[in-house]
Symmetry: C2
Subunit: 209 residues, 2 copies
DNA sequence: CGCGTGATTGAAACCCTTCAAGTTTAGTGG
DNA sequence: CCACTAAACTTGAAGGGTTTCAATCACGCG
């Protein structure tokens, strides 16, 4: 008789996306990356949980290994304004809060059950020192970030609700399926009702999806 | 008899503001700064002249030694959207156009007769290598810039015309006296007529200045 | 099943824009 | 220095896009 005993192995946390990210953005060997990965803090964040609240000092950048995060502000009248979404492979944080060690005015929340890498300033500094390619990739990302913010300002200055929506679905088609419409409305700076009507109009003009 | 001949001396271009800027942001000696200053390109720009046009690749950051510059986009319908003003001691440029060597979508124009320093990437690199304080100051400025862009997005997402105007005059009281109101309206994302009415309402509520 | 969240729809109100006209201001040349 | 012109600013009336509020519907989940 054969007795089969299967010991459930201690599952290593899967960090495929973050590993890929590091190997693409840096010129470190896989061995070194694997070593680094053992040091990073990873957490499972349930839908609805917060990674940062307004008033707190932001201490980490967050890399979405799995799931979906959002950053938003809340104004005096209690209305939310969504600043950014962060699906898989995106970084999200309050750069200036980290940099100036100042209270953030952002909330960062998981809107799906997520696995999130906590990236400290020290970690960034360490990898930057190890790889000049990584440093450059970060510079690049910073410039892109600024450019993207300016484009958004530009659109908010001039575009109608419909134009904003069309830009959004063209830029982030994947998010459309994962993010409730009222959050998209918040990102676009319009009410959920308005977005609903915009979509209705577009459907009438036989606009696909 | 005494004949007095006054030879008009070759006037050195006055760069007090930029000199002060360099000495505050770096830890270079005055002698070194003076040497550096001889290398920079300075130009007098008449009101209405352009330093950058959409479609061109931006090659310089511009430091306003004297005068006032603005950056703006023009949308499909021909409307201008002002992205930024740059009075004395401000830097203005299209970072991403410089960085990615890509055509800019910005115009940069003098709205007063101005004296402008052309700052090349090489110049920035050189000073950065000479002074780590300068490097850090630039990092800091970059972070502040991002923060300021985010605050503006936030306001465009939620605030009324009046709120935007009040924020503007509180943040840039000096510009109010130098910039035509229709440009301020453009910066705020409203029409000149609306701004006029907002100001009228504020005056009625006996709001000073 | 019932509850809560998200989405839709309608009607009224509101803010802002548009268009058009008039007024003020500033700059230019005689 | 005044006259002229263009640009900037104001004001009014009408219209449009969005919001607000309220009600209803659809769906997933305990």
């Amino acid at each position: 008789m054969i007795i089969l005993i299967i010991l459930k192995p201690k599952l290593p946390v899967v960090l495929d996306n973050f590993k890929l990210y590091l190997s693409e953005k840096s010129d470190l060997t896989e061995a070194v990356i694997d070593k680094i990965l053992k040091e990073v803090r990873v957490e499972s964040i349930q839908k609805g949980e917060f990674l940062l609240s307004a008033g707190d000092v932001c201490k980490h950048a967050f890399f979405t290994e799995k799931g979906l995060l959002r950053a938003f502000t809340v104004d005096e009248s209690g209305k939310e304004h969504i600043i950014q979404f962060a699906p898989e492979n995106w970084l999200i944080s309050d750069r200036s809060s980290i940099y100036f060690n100042a209270p953030s005015d952002l909330f960062i929340e998981a809107i799906e059950n997520s696995r999130v890498i906590f990236i400290s300033t020290e970690f960034m500094g360490m990898v930057s020192e190890m790889s000049s390619k990584f440093r450059k990739a970060n510079d690049r990302a910073l410039q892109s970030h600024i450019h993207q913010l300016q484009q958004r300002i530009n659109q908010l200055l001039g575009a109608t609700a419909e134009e904003r929506y069309l830009t959004f679905i063209q830029k982030y088609p994947d998010l459309l399926l994962r993010v409730p419409l009222w959050m998209i409305a918040s990102y676009l700076g319009i009410t959920p009702e308005s977005l609903s009507r915009v979509r209705k109009d577009l459907a009438k003009k036989n606009f696909k999806s």
